[in-house]
Every structure is written in structure tokens, then in C-alpha cells.
Symmetry: C2
Subunit: 270 residues, 2 copies
């Protein structure tokens, strides 16, 4: 039986998943959350699929042991490589990833349109977004671009200004020329770090381009599922933050992604 | 007893240390090397000192078990946080780091000059270069700048051109204005990824600024020590490459740093 007062577990390789947590808090007010950032082993984006799946299973155990009523994998790499294994390991829990909701939103694009996925090297190479979107809409043209500098830039807290737009432009270059075959109808933010760039991206992209924020789309998906099962909390929400390393950096940098200063972060061993 | 036909062990958190290996091969022709990149757990630069030391000790065991006659820690973060622990664990081996040789070279600066250290966030925060340079030359003014985007840029293989110079300029901004108090006499490349940017940096910096490449200075230090102990090899050299994850990416990206295509990379578990 699911304890409806139990928190929702949110797991990420690091701090980027706090953008998903932020969206979840907005979509599910009053709900409690427990967030685990596997900062000792980040980034997952440059690691092999087998290693990512092994790490994700270990991390999920920590959350499950503390008692959760749903698991949100707020990490694109782990969503791509570990979601099936996680669902199999925890058949009693609803398990949500960030790829499928983002792909569903992208699938709203007009017939034959271009979709540009901005993600980490590993997410792009694994092709999870490309496959998930094409499964829903085989007529769309999918372009995927690995943007490793954007992760570093997000963690530096440089989320606007001329230099930020120059780096964003570097990755958009060749994808937004008006009328070109690759002029994207939709840009998918396929890395949880990237929602912090929504506003400068909005300025750099044509008005007709839709920016899909997979943090927001995932939060909507989770809220829909838990509300439709009648399982939303009505008590005041609590937030517990766990990290596997570098608690001080997590507290400082994590605030960029959660959008407010972080309270105490607890160190756990993996 | 040291077996002079044994290889020199080179350890890094990932692939950046291949710039040190490249410099070592040039300084010690005919020598054999065994390189271990702890790619499963990179980057060390954002991890805590205790975790970095633990990882470095584990990695050194792999190299020592295979028989090495010297250990080069080709990682600034591990040199800063783990060198004493490594020397204590392996009293039979000469152990070299990359911080001290770079600091010694920077200490050649004119009296009262400014020195700019470009490094990872963790190396800057740990203050290893700052302390090592000031110990030798308390009169110098040390500025240290964390450059996380440069690591990503180096691994993207984007080592020249307008965008590359724009990112380098972002980190040099405020440090190179002619006549300013911080106009650096010396720029220290305090991350093993950064030697790939030596040429564009040379173009961006005034002629009077000396660029210290800690890969090159470390290789000179190792060559001096092994030659002075009469222990240089005369047989043809061999190179063994080990990585803890992502062998395919290591082979592709590592070539940027070694300056030539990589042969087979062997996967080891840590």
C-alpha cells in the first residue's frame, strides 16, 4: 500500500534535477519531496549506459529505504538508460523519467516540422529523445546537438548577458537560419540544467519556435498521474536534500536551479 | 629495487593528463608508459578533497600492481589533494605532481608581478597553486580563475577559431588590460586540459606575458629526476592505456590531448 503522506523521491546525477524539483513543487503544492543528487559521481552524461544504470539503481535504493510514494528520475541520461531497470526493481512504485514527457510535448509540432534537441553528449549519442519523438511522430525531422559548455555555464550561474547568449548561439548556429530545412519549430531542453537558459534562448529564437522545458512537462505528467490516482497530499510539504559529495558546493550552486537558497543538505554515502 | 625497464605510471581523472603524457614522451624518448584515466569518476575538479584523495589512492594501486618505476599524478586536483597521501602509501616510488613544477616556473616572474592561474573550480578553491607560488615568491600577486567551460571546450575538440577565442577571452577579461594592476606577467595553465589552448591564448595575450604549461614543466621535472638518478631507459618504449569507463569516448576524445590517434584502450574496474 502506498503511504500518501510519504514524500516523492527525486533523483539526479547532480544539481540540475533541482529544476525538475522546482517545477514539481509548483505543480504539486503541499507535497513533500526527498531529492538525491549523486554529486560524487556526476556527470552521468559522459559515462557508459551500463555504468549509468548501475549508479541509478544504487541511488534509488537510498530513496526507497527512506520511504517514498513515487520516484522521479530527474536526469536525462538516467531516464534514457535506467528507467526500465528502475521500474523492474521497484514494481510497487510509480517511476517517471524526463525524456518521455519532453518528447510528448515536442510531438505537438506541426506536420513535417524540425525539432532541435539540446542535451548532453551522452543523451544525444544514446538517441533517447530522437527515438521517443519519432515513435510518436515519424514525420518530424529531429536534430540533436550536444551542448557540454551549457552545463558548465549553468553551474557558473551565468544565465543571461552577452557571453551567455554567445555560447547559446554557438549551439543554435545552423539550426535557426530563417527558412532553412533545419529551422526548428520546437527546441527541446533535453538536459535538466538548461531551463535556466529559457529566457535568453527565447530572445535568440524566432517567435514561432516553441521551447519545451522537460522539467515543466515532467512535473505536469507526475501531477496528472498522482492527482488522477487521488493521491495528492493536503498536509504542509517538507523538502529533504541529499547529496553524495560536495555538500557545500551543492548548497551554493543548487540554489541557481531550485530558484531559491537551499536549506541544509545531508551527505549520504553510495 | 627499481626495475629500470618498468614503465612510468601516469594517472589522471580522465583524458586531460594525456597532455602530460605527450610532454613526457617528448622529454623521455624510448621510455615506456602506462596511463590510467579514471573516466568513470571524472571530473575530480568538482569533488571534495577527501573523495579526490580516496580515488587517487585506489587508482594508484592499479598502476603499482602492474609494476611501475615512478608515478606521475597528471591531474591538478589530485596533485593538490592527494600527493602527500600517495607518497606515504608508496614510499618506494618517486611520485610527481603537476602543481609544484608549474608553480616553480611561475616563480620566475619579475619582482612584484601579477600571475594569473587558470584552473578548475576545485583547484582554484583549494588554493594549491596560489600557496605553492607564494611559498617561493611572496612578492608576487596571484590571481586565480576557475574556467569550467574550457574543460568542456577542450573535450569538444574546439581548440581554435573565433568561438574558442571568445570563451578564452571571457576568462581573461579583466586580467589583461594593459597597465592594470592585474596585467599578468605569467599565465599558468593549471589544468591539464588547457595546453590545447596555448596558441589561441598566445594570440590573446600581450607578447610580454609568459604562458606556463604545467604539462611541459612537469615532464621536464620528471626527466631531470630520472636522468639524474641514471635511470632512463634505452629500450624501445611501449604505451599502455587504461580507463575505468567509456573506452570508446576515451579513444576518440583522448587523441585531442595526446596529439595523435590512440591505440587500444583497456577497460579496468575501480
Amino acid at each position: 500500500m502506498t503511504d500518501e503522506s510519504a514524500p516523492i523521491g527525486v533523483f539526479d546525477s547532480g544539481m540540475g534535477g533541482l529544476t525538475v524539483l522546482r517545477a514539481l513543487e509548483a505543480a504539486l503544492p503541499g507535497e513533500s519531496f526527498i531529492y538525491l543528487g549523486d554529486t560524487a559521481r556526476l556527470p552521468y552524461g559522459s559515462k557508459s549506459p551500463g555504468t549509468v544504470a548501475r549508479y541509478a539503481l544504487q541511488a534509488s535504493e537510498i530513496l526507497v529505504e527512506r520511504g517514498i510514494r513515487a520516484l522521479v528520475v530527474a536526469c536525462n541520461t538516467a531516464s534514457a538508460f535506467a528507467l526500465d531497470a528502475l521500474a523492474e526493481r521497484h514494481p510497487e512504485l510509480p517511476v517517471f523519467g524526463v525524456v518521455e514527457p519532453g518528447a510528448s510535448a515536442a510531438a505537438e509540432a506541426p506536420r513535417g516540422a524540425s525539432v532541435l534537441v539540446l542535451a548532453t553528449e551522452s543523451t544525444v549519442a544514446g538517441g533517447a529523445y530522437q527515438k521517443a519523438i519519432l515513435r510518436l511522430r515519424p514525420d518530424l525531422k529531429i536534430h540533436a546537438r550536444a551542448c557540454p559548455l551549457l552545463v558548465a555555464l549553468a553551474e557558473e550561474g551565468e544565465h543571461e548577458g552577452e557571453f551567455c547568449e554567445r555560447v547559446l548561439g554557438h549551439y543554435l548556429h545552423g539550426h535557426t537560419a530563417g527558412g532553412s530545412v533545419s529551422d526548428p519549430a520546437v527546441v527541446v531542453l533535453g538536459c535538466t540544467h538548461f531551463p535556466v537558459f529559457r529566457e535568453p534562448l527565447r530572445r535568440l529564437l524566432p517567435d514561432h519556435t516553441v521551447v519545451v522545458d522537460s522539467a515543466a512537462t515532467t512535473a505536469e505528467r507526475v501531477a496528472d498521474a498522482l492527482v488522477s490516482s487521488g493521491a495528492t497530499a493536503r498536509h504542509p510539504g517538507r523538502l529533504t536534500l541529499l547529496a553524495t559529495d560536495g555538500v557545500r558546493r551543492f548548497t551554493r550552486v543548487g540554489g541557481y536551479f531550485l530558484g531559491r537558497p537551499l536549506d541544509a543538505v545531508e551527505l549520504v554515502d553510495l
